[in-house]
Structures are given as C-alpha cells and as structure tokens.
Amino acid sequence: MLALLPQLLLTGITIGSIYALIALGFVLIYGVTGILNFAQGEFSMLGALVCATLLAWHLPLATAALISVAATCVLGALTERLAVEPAFGAHPLTLIIITFGVSMALRGLALMLWGADPYALPEFTPGPPLVLLGGVLVRQAVWAIGLSVAVVGALFTFFVRTVPGAAVRACADNAFACRLVGISPRRVSLAAFTLSAALGAVAGIVITPITGATYDMGLGLGLKGFVAAVIGGLGNAPAAVVGGYLVGIIESLATGYLVPGYAGAITFLVLLAVLFLQREGVLHGAQRRQA
C-alpha cells in the first residue's frame, strides 16, 4: 500500500504542475477583469493540437511549440476583443456564460478541424524513465514540472519586480485609480487574456506527450485548473499554484488507492467542500470581488 505512495506523489506533482499553470490563467483573468474564463482549458487544447499539426508538417518540435503558443496567444486576444470586451460592464454572470460559449465554440471548431481521434506529441527528450525515491518518472514529467516552475517563476518576477507587472496588479486592485495614471484597464485585460492563453498553451503542449491530445481535453484540464484556482481563493496567484499541485496529488492518490474512475469525482467533492467550508479558499486569499 505505502510502496505505491512515492509513485503516486510523483504522478500527482507532474499533473499538478500542469493544473497550476491553468489555475494561474484563471487567477490572472479573474483578478484583472472579475471574469471566470471557462475557455481557459481550450487554450491548452488548441496549443497541443496546433503543435501536433505543425509537427506533422515536419517543423522541429521547438519551433512548432513556439508557433502554437503564439497562435494561442492571438486566439486569447481575439477572445477578449471579440467576445468579452464588447460585453464589458455587463453582469458578471453574463460574462461567465460568454466564456462558456467561447469554450464550446472552440471545442466544436477543434472537432471539425482535428476530428475526435487523439493526437500524440513525442517526448521532448526521449529516453528511459528516471527512478526517483522509489518511483518512476518519465522524462517528459521532468519537463512538465521544470517548465511549469520556470514559467511560474518568470511570471512572479514580472509581477513583483517590474513596473508593467505592478500595473497589472494595480488593475486588479483598483482599476479606477489605474485610469487616472494612464493605465488603460482594457489594455491590461487584453494582456491578461493573451498571457493566460500562453499559460494554457504551454500546459497543453507539455502534457500531451504523456496524455495525448484530443479536441475535448480542454474541458477536464480547465475544470481541474478552476478547482485549483478556487482552492487558492481565486484572487491569490501563489495559492492557486499550490492549489494546482494539491489537485494533482489528490487526483493521483484517489486513482491509486480508490477506484480509478472516481478521481474526477473526488476532485469535485474537494471543490464542494472548499466552497462550503470557506468561501475565500483554503489558503487565505485575496478578497472576493463584489459581483
């Protein structure tokens, strides 16, 4: 029973690092605009599928990955400009439903373009798995964890150490005051969607060599990322990252020790418990925005 634990933890941390990236995307957009972007998972799907297609066109993996991240960024920006921005000022629920609509539209589009069959990406650096603390770690998992940590680190450096990063935080804090110093909340909102799309795309591309990519992968990834963000209190980026790892580990332990099919259900039970127990999230979070 316990012999399984290291393996389950390693698996949990791997998938958790992906959830952490998606959760950060949620928190970023929510903080700046007050919108829960349920199209967040679709960014991962698009990143992965575009990358798979570019690879099939014989582009090198790194080039394909970079282009697909850039393309997803464009799509994130378009989502903001075409679907969200025109409805700014509407009731938050309306905006959330819009993002649901975008999510379904993107999934439908992906089904038409790529079909229902799964696509694969090769491991970034093929080779035998590593043995670590009594568990086995495929090389791609090292990439997933490493890239996630690097991206999260870069993002936090940007927010804490740079003036444009402070402008984004200021926008989440008090958008009115931002306008008075010349920061345009609309531009920051556009930047938030673009950056969140990039986070999603990176997550999707990195995890695909392990899980494969399908047109509907965004649903599961998006919901797990959402749970992670809620566990972190929605307004708190570091806590959302921790939430991502927590969700990954919970899911992995549930798969290993309970019936595998119930992992998803248990994740959502955790979400319900969090919402019931503490509206602000488990890890003390920022204030909830007034709806």
């Binding site: 003036v163 935080r169 804090d173 008075l180 010349g182």
Partner: protein
C-alpha cells in the same frame, strides 16, 4: 491678464443617469490655485472628474492650452498634463508606496524609464514621510499618509494642472498645513496650476488665488478670496460670523 491654461465652457455632465453639471464655465490660469467650494452635492467632485475625463461631457467643451480635450478618456487626459487626485484617495491597497509613485509616472514609463525612476525623488522631497514608508503597502497607511501618497502619485504624472478633490478630508490640521505648503511651493517652483475642491472653506480661502462657488451644478459666484469675503451671503453661508482672512 494671463492667458488661461484650462478653459471649460458650457460643460454639462452626468453621473450615472443624473445630470449633475448644468453648464459650467471655468478657467484656470498658469500657476494659480483655484478653489471650488460649495455645499455637498453641488457637483464639485463631478466637475473635477469631468475635466479629468472620468465622466463624459454631454455638452460643452474643455480645452487645455487651446487644445480640445472634451470626450477624451481619463487615461488619455493624464498624458496631456491633467492629473486628478480623487476623493477617497483611491490608493492600491496591495501595492507598495514606491510602486504607487512609479505607476504615477506610468504614461512616461515606456519611453523615459530612468527619468521616471529618478522622478520618485520629487514627491519624496515634498513629503519626506513617503521615503520612510517606501516598502509599505498602500492599504496599511494612515489617512494622512494615503493622502500624501495620492498627491505624490498625481505629481509623478508631471502634470501642468493638478486636480485635488478634498485633500483635507479626515486629516489633522498639521498634515493639511503640510500639504498646503507643498502645493504653494510647487506652484512657485514649477508653475503648477492647482484646482482644489474643498469642504474646509477656511483652508481653501487661505490658500487660493481665486475661488469659485458652486451650487446645484452651477457656478454661482467667483472672485478672489477677499472679494468673496466682502460678499455678505458667502461669509454667512460658509464661514460663520467674525471670520477674517488669516495673514
């Protein structure tokens, strides 16, 4: 007579669905302190907001040094040299004092990064307290400290006109005096124009070069503090009996 820097004519503005300003004419000259006084709900804050681009003008026009700025959003108006220090200060609770000041110069940041970083010394020179509070978060400051920070942030935009909405609200007399002195120095040193909305009429009268009295969305009276004090209605309504201008 000096040419006016800011010219407001026939300005009509709403706040939400309510028309608050019913045709305001106002001018501000370079380097002067213009106080706007009047009862609560007269539309003083809305007037400042409308000049700064926060509330769109329904009619009328606003020009800055001859250039029309009517209808520009707030984030554009600040670039042209009008900086609003809003009511209730509106500091960012989770950002440090230094970040406030740097962001105050945000519209210059992309082109003049090092200049903005160096300019932080300016508000710190005016309010040395800001230097002690450098790493503190906006939300953890006292009311007076937040007001200094809000003014410092407004100055970081390097405005030609500073709009101050109730800077003395909730502050002790010592801090008010410090702020008033600072404004006076800036006017002398940099030719800064200040438009000041004040509940504290005595403080406003003592600082201002000219005063405009607002009632129910209109300017009903204007003149120098001495002229207004000579006006029988004003003294009775705003200052009480026996008040003489200080100094």
């Amino acid at each position: 007579m000096t040419a006016s820097l800011l010219q407001v004519s026939g300005l009509v503005a709403r706040r939400g669905s309510v028309e608050v300003l019913h045709g305001i004419d106002l001018e501000a000259r370079p380097g002067e302190i213009l106080a706007i006084i009047g009862p609560n709900g007269a539309g003083k804050s809305t007037l400042l907001g409308a000049i700064a681009g926060v509330y769109p003008a329904r009619a009328g026009r606003i020009t800055l040094a001859g250039r029309p700025i009517t209808g520009l959003p707030a984030e554009a108006v600040v670039r042209l040299g009008i900086s609003l220090v809003p009511e209730r200060r509106q500091v960012w609770s989770g950002l440090t004092v230094r970040e406030h000041l740097l962001l105050g110069g945000y519209h210059r940041y992309w082109r003049h990064r090092s200049e903005v970083r160096a300019d932080v010394a300016l508000p710190q020179g005016i309010f040395p307290r800001l230097l002690d509070l450098d790493r503190r978060l906006g939300g953890s400051l006292s009311g007076g400290e937040q007001q200094m920070l809000a003014i410092g942030r407004g100055l970081m935009a390097r405005p030609r006109i500073l709009l101050l909405d109730e800077p003395s609200l909730g502050l002790g007399p010592l801090i008010v005096r410090e702020i008033v002195h600072a404004l006076d120095r800036l006017r002398r040193a940099e030719g800064l124009t200040v438009i000041l909305v004040e509940q504290n009429v005595k403080a406003a009268m003592a600082t201002a070069d000219r005063v405009a009295v607002m009632e129910r969305g209109r300017i009903v009276l204007r003149g120098t503090p001495a002229e207004l004090l000579a006006h029988p209605g004003i003294k009775a309504a705003y200052l009480g009996k026996g008040y003489e201008i200080a100094g």
